[in-house]
């Protein structure tokens, strides 16, 4: 295919901010200039949460992982830990987990070969036990899965119940869940999902439960990544994250069962994406910390510095990874990882070079870890915190993004708040507008993607066909589901499910009863049936 002529250099950032050819002191607004000389570890933390930066706290190497049967996933997690990741992430099969279906649900049976493609099906605590076998969860930071909101309590309860069966003390268990509104209601809208109000209740339950019993656990992760990769630009991603946090913290305050400082410090582990606009996205992370500090101190009166200090997990943008010439993605992954580090992230996952084809192969996973190890050990990046601090350009971008992001927060609040913008489809509309703008750029030939739109010659001897996974995940899951139904104490399971139903209909915290249900070997699909009876289905706004 003949390459198109190259477009001129764009004088705007990825989010459309106008850029000058060079920056000087007058480009930094006075109120931002006043805090520019604060050091990392000093409020308002735009320069970083910790005075020693990565010297004392290297960022966590934390890769998405999961496929096949629970034992396949277990092997991959162990491989990643051996390779050098310092936290592990346990994905569940989307077909079953996201929809709370067992594998014999007709929707799943119709697509049975898809089961296990993106995570192992975990329909009872037995599966979670298999997935975690031999992994030292008492000392290793673990992500229990439960990315979509309705799956959160189940995934967490399963993980915690396994920990309890091992005799571990939940009070010292390190890890996180997700239960992310951006993924569930914006980026990857499932076929069936509980309404947003019910989702908010579950997330508030998780936050309160962790506050009481799991002080080392980040209960939910607000993952603005999923807004960004759906189309929100950098300042919309920032603003929407803050609006989401307001929704959680207002709910915690309204319920009045938990100290707001404790809730804020628990919720202050969030997730952003980085893309290939290096300085805009590094500035985005700096702006996020400053905004968090302001939100917490002004709206909630929080004064404890630990609660005012935002901790950030970054995942490099999957949508930037190309299908063509996939090895180029190793370079893209490196640059996006560098951006996260320059922005001061606490934890990082680098998308696999085969992202556009499948879940990561073992080799793609290895490369994602190696990229991070090279950055940590060969570049001296970890020596000095916030190396971009004081750059007229970066400080100006940080201030500009922050100002636009607060404006976006106000727009969301004027719509009735974050949940209201999901219910009405307003936020989807914002994402769609940007998608269309990007499409128009592409059609007009103003976008360069190396190896795709331009520079398409390729002499690579490597063939990348994506990771094939295994072919027995469905059959084994079906057999195991039957075994659970056959072997469990029926009366106990029945009673636990009844107790769960009563709890859902009350205002009690769902987590203790969910853990009892998991212990009694109640299955994922039974819990889904119950939820659907009680809460019905979210009215999905027009997406297309």
């Amino acid at each position: 295919m003949a390459d198109h002529p190259l477009p001129p250099t764009d004088p705007r950032s990825q989010s459309g901010l106008p850029l000058r050819a060079a920056y000087g002191p007058d480009d930094v607004p006075p109120e931002h200039r006043a805090i520019m000389d604060r050091l990392p570890g000093e409020a308002p933390f735009q320069r970083g949460g910790f005075p020693q930066g990565y010297r004392t706290k290297p960022w966590r190497i934390f890769q998405l992982s999961g496929f096949g049967k629970p034992e396949d996933e277990n092997e991959r997690i162990k491989f990643l830990l051996r390779t050098g990741e310092t936290g592990f992430l346990m994905e569940h099969d989307r077909n079953t987990a996201d929809h709370l279906y067992n594998v014999d649900h007709p929707e799943v049976v119709a697509r049975r070969e898809d089961v296990g493609l993106t995570g192992a099906p975990m329909q009872s605590i037995r599966d979670t036990h298999l997935c975690l076998q031999g992994i030292p969860i008492e000392t290793t930071y673990g992500h229990a899965g439960g990315a979509v909101v309705q799956h959160g309590p189940y995934a967490l309860a399963a993980y915690w119940s396994v920990a309890k069966r091992r005799g571990l003390d939940l009070a010292t268990l390190p890890g996180t869940g997700q239960s992310d509104f951006f993924l569930t209601y914006l980026g990857c809208v499932t076929k069936q999902q509980i309404p947003t109000a019910a989702g908010l209740r579950l997330n508030a339950d998780i936050i309160e439960f962790c506050g009481r019993h799991l002080p080392k656990w980040v209960p939910v992760s607000i993952a603005a990544y999923n807004g960004g990769d759906s189309g929100l630009n950098a300042y919309e991603e920032l603003g929407a994250l803050i609006a989401n946090a307001i929704e959680y913290l207002d709910e915690i305050r309204r319920r009045g069962r938990m100290d707001i400082t404790a809730a804020a410090s628990r919720c202050g582990g969030v997730n952003f994406r980085t893309t290939l606009d290096i300085f805009e996205d590094a500035s985005k992370l700096r702006a996020a910390r400053k905004m968090w500090h302001r939100l917490l101190s002004e709206r909630y009166g929080v004064t404890d510095p630990r609660a005012l200090r935002l901790r950030i997990h970054v995942v490099t943008s999957g949508s930037k990874m190309t299908y063509q010439q996939p090895l180029n993605n190793i370079v893209r992954g490196t640059l996006m990882a560098l951006t996260a580090v320059l922005g001061g992230a606490q934890s990082l996952g680098v998308s696999g070079y085969d992202e556009a084809l499948s879940v990561p192969s073992e080799h793609a996973h290895q490369m994602s870890v190696r990229i991070q190890q090279i950055l940590q050990h060969e570049t001296n990046l970890s020596a000095v915190a916030d190396p971009l601090g004081g750059s007229f350009y970066v400080e100006s971008l940080t201030a500009d993004l922050e100002q636009r992001a607060w404006q976006f927060v106000e727009e969301i609040q004027a719509q009735g708040g974050f949940l209201a913008t999901l219910d009405s489809g307003w936020l989807h509309g914002k994402a769609r507008d940007n998608q269309i703008r990007e499409m128009e750029e592409e059609v007009a030939g103003r976008k360069v993607v190396v190896g795709v739109t331009h520079f398409t010659d390729d002499v690579s001897p490597f063939v990348v066909d994506g990771f094939p996974g295994v072919n027995d995940a469905y059959d084994v899951a079906l057999e195991r589901l039957r075994a659970v139904r056959r072997e469990r104490h029926q009366a106990g399971a029945c009673a636990a499910l009844k107790a769960l139903e009563a709890c859902c209909r009350s205002e009690q915290n769902i987590m203790p009863v969910m853990m009892q249900a998991l212990d009694a070997e109640v299955t994922l699909g039974e819990i889904g049936e119950l939820y659907r009876q009680i809460w019905g289905d979210w009215q999905t706004p027009e997406l297309v």
């Binding site: 809208v189 076929k191 066909d465 994506g466």
Partner: protein, 137 residues
Amino acid sequence: MATGKRILLVKTALDGHWRGLSLVARALRDAGFHVIIGGMITGPEIVRSAVDEDVDLVGLNVGGHALVVERVIAELRAARPELPIFAGGVLPPSTCRRLAELGVETYPPGSTLEAIVAAAHRLTGQDERSSLGAGAR
């Protein structure tokens, strides 16, 4: 616009990523096609929609295993053997080859909307005058 040829767009997997489908739907509508969004539906439901809506082309948004897609294609072929099908989404080269053997054109990530719209014109026989971005490049 509604007088254009009719295209059914569906997702074969229980995977709700909607960005790609949304853009393709818009490009096809801009080019004058009547686009019907089927969403995440099963093979038999896809066949029913294709028949009830009397469509001229089916677009499969693939986000899962090739065997699931092949089954949907077989079901569609059994009901309406002449109906053209094309596919986009997560399509490793081996899946593209397999679908090509079944007579299904594939548009993996990185395909231009221009190419997808051109394919829709060719496969439905609709006049190309209102094509997206005509002359833009």
